[in-house]
Symmetry: C2
Subunit: 488 residues, 2 copies
């Protein structure tokens, strides 16, 4: 028998949000139609009065959209806003309750946030920050107009003003920039009973409170008490006797990537953040870490594709061109260089045209192989797996892999060339050029990311363009050079 | 004054693990030296007896390594194992306490796990699973020999045997495969006081217990009670009156990617997993989600670089060649095709050699631009932002961006060609070819991932190779074809 379900139970699942988006898109299509009819009617000669039935349908339609949005989580509203073309996005934004503006702005992507903020006046923006915690205001701050920030500061109580100033003072991608201030602090010398009484007065604990922070009068962090211990321990014990003294803490200036790695490694839910003097200044939670990781992956993917930033999929054509031009310009320069390298050997190509058809093979496979090496090395660097002792072993290994690949693939392209051009000297030159270009690719594939890492730059950014430029120009030079020496 | 620090406090920070790795590498270098000396002495003619001083130093050295490893978190030991060459890795593995084998095997990468499991005998492997929960054993199971799994099953108590069978029955990358069974279940009709008494008997709550699951006698999930509510609510209230009825739940067959998106979106720490009949079957925690996301990103990065799987950085040359060959072979085929396209126009190139030098520019920039489009579309697809209504708008937008880019970059390459070859007809052909190839890149950049998505394949995998193949061969064909028509 099907168990009776309580109608007041509201259970969500993973498909709810997609359904909400489809429904919103459908309602907005109707909205656009009604709007178009209204405009057409208004433009009619004779100035017919507005059709009361249509006006009613418009109001109904807007009410339906509002009723769809109201129960949604702010992150779901953000998702819908991102997936809508700009006009419809602003229709939806107008229908969102003003007291949810702040939390939704926090959730949307940077590009979409920009379009929404540009649409709001200063008064609305100040009001939107009203429902946010100081660490959240700090997250929004870089996108807000200066006057808005000044007004926000004036409206905050002194303690929160200080917190906001502190949160805004940390560099992007540090623990300080990601932490919040929602930590429950207790003293070492009280009993758990006292702690429990104190908690009951709080009415509700901050989200993600899985532990309480034990500090002394100088704000010095002494230990942690997991909330679950409060449930299973005798209440007359002192905090000092049950607190954990073996824990992971972060410095506010720690790199966010290291913090994220530690959360992953030690399965943390929250952790204390201290300043250089060991004073508790904030709390890091797993959800901040998850969001940071997601953003970082996204921007890595975008930059690997040569997109400078998160592009609103409905950005204007002109904005998209701007977002993408730097990458294309960079690649154009490397293409021009490769073209001039080929230009050096025009005489040889004129004598043996087959060279023109074969040269992209050498360059292309060199680029592919070099990128494989770079992928390996960048990953090992990111995981901190490369030490002074093993770097040279890695180098030798990659060169050996390339030499073996050179034999295999060089042999294959040699056979390919022979089948088509029936010229065994040409085949030998192909084979030799392939081998040399793969060795070039392997050595540069190890050296480029390691050098970038030494210079303090992120080896994930730009390594791929460099290796491709080198294996293109290098491959053309090696192949056409050898051909000039031995064939023509 | 510097506050006095309690010497029993053990505070960790983000650099500890790197220091441990450097120290381990140094100790292992000494180990290798002592080992080499021992071998050299043994091989000396006359058979000198072992030097007692050296033997003592060897023992000391191993003790030091053991002392370094023992206090480390299993994830940190895993990290050190991954960063060591194979011989040293096995030395360390032998020094790890046997009762930690299981949890460390869970933490190492697939490639390294394989090397460690291959080194262990069946008896050790069965023992290693002894300290693991059933959901963890299920994670290891695909890598264990069949006999080991059978023995493990025999040794488990009936209830856990059933859990293991269930955990192993779910497809990879589903909620069921990632969930654990550590949930605390309570009844609706008892008071919080009773719940608290029950929890006290448990001694310690399972990790990441931020909520208790309310079920009826038929295991049907009725609601959730956040642990923090137990702390701040009167104890004589019934569970049914404080439990949350508005929550997110997952089906055991839900796609793990959707689950991860929901955890990110709603900032969850744990969530119930139910079967099709609404019965509670497990619990999903944020740390399982974080690990899943990390693995998925890693494998995406690797496959984008054409590496079939996670490669142990100290894998043998032959293993590395195998890991990489499929990608190189695929690219070789596309390179052969491009080469034959050029071959069609050898006559034209023979008459106007400049074509050979200029053609890689057209192909290269087309590939770059196409990959930018694909990056955008794959991302929008992954976020579920593409609906029936907006797909055609996106297509038009990408074509417009390409047309504009074609004008800009086509003009530039035309000028470049004119400066070098002083042939304005050639410049015009360059410009036109660039424009056409960018339009080809944009349309394929939208169509390929959308078609793959429709066919149920992951558009992130393989799109890039396809677009590059098309813009290479297509670019050569367009440029050389136009040149043949208008120039030679």
């Amino acid at each position: 028998m099907e168990p009776a379900r309580n109608p007041s139970v509201e259970v969500h699942d993973v498909n709810d949000v997609h359904e909400a988006l489809e429904r919103a898109a459908e309602l907005l299509r109707i909205h656009d139609e009604l709007q178009a009819m209204a405009i057409a009617a208004a433009e009619e000669p004779g100035g017919t009065p507005p059709d009361p039935q249509r006006t009613q349908r418009q109001t109904q339609n807007l009410d339906e959209i509002r009723a769809l949005l109201d129960p949604l989580h702010p992150a779901d509203v953000a998702y819908i806003l991102e997936a809508l073309p700009r006009d419809q996005r602003l229709v939806v934004w107008d229908l969102v309750k003003a007291d949810r503006d702040g939390e939704i702005l926090l959730e949307v992507s940077d590009a979409v946030r920009e379009t929404l903020i540009a649409y709001m006046d200063d008064h609305e923006l100040v009001a939107a920050t009203g429902q946010l915690d100081t660490d959240e205001i700090a997250d929004l701050a870089p996108d807000l107009p200066r006057e808005v920030i000044e007004d926000v500061f004036k409206l905050l109580p002194p303690e929160e003003r200080e917190q906001l100033r502190e949160a805004m003072s940390y560099a992007e991608d540090t623990a300080g920039a990601l932490m919040d201030f929602d930590m429950v602090q207790i003293r070492e010398d009280v009993t758990l009973e006292v702690v429990l009484r104190y908690l009951r007065r709080l009415d509700e604990l901050p989200d993600h409170t899985d532990q309480l922070f034990v500090v002394d009068r100088a704000e010095q962090l002494k230990g942690l008490v997991p909330v679950n211990r409060l449930l299973v321990t005798d209440l007359d014990v002192a905090v000092g006797d049950v607190m954990l003294k073996d824990y992971t803490q972060f410095n506010a200036n720690d790199d966010a990537a290291d913090v994220a790695a530690a959360f992953e490694r030690y399965d943390l839910v929250s952790a204390p953040v201290v300043d250089d003097a060991g004073r508790l200044v904030g709390r890091m939670t797993v959800n901040a870490v998850v969001d940071y990781t997601r953003d970082k992956i996204d921007s890595e993917k975008l930059s690997a594709g040569g997109l400078r930033e998160d592009e609103d999929i409905f950005a204007s054509v002109w904005k998209s061109v701007q977002n993408r031009w730097a990458w294309l310009a960079l690649n154009l320069i490397t293409a021009f260089i490769a073209s001039r390298v080929i230009g050096l050997f025009e005489g040889s190509i004129g004598k043996l045209v087959a060279l023109a058809a074969l040269m992209p093979i050498i360059a292309g496979i060199g680029g592919n192989s070099g990128n494989q090496t770079i992928t390996m090395i960048v990953r090992a660097l990111a995981l901190g797996q490369i030490t002074r002792q093993n770097a040279s072993k890695l180098f030798v290994k990659e060169l050996s892999v390339s030499a073996l690949n050179g034999l295999i693939w060089g042999g294959l392209v040699g056979i390919f060339a022979f089948l088509i051009y029936h010229n065994w000297q040409l085949s030998l030159v192909m084979m030799l050029a392939m081998m040399l270009n793969l060795l070039l690719a392997a050595s540069m594939g190890v050296l480029i990311p390691m050098a970038m890492d030494k210079l303090g730059r992120d080896p994930a950014v730009g390594s791929s363009v460099m290796i491709t430029a080198i294996t293109d120009s290098g491959g053309f030079f090696i192949f056409l050079g050898l051909a000039t020496l031995f064939l023509v």
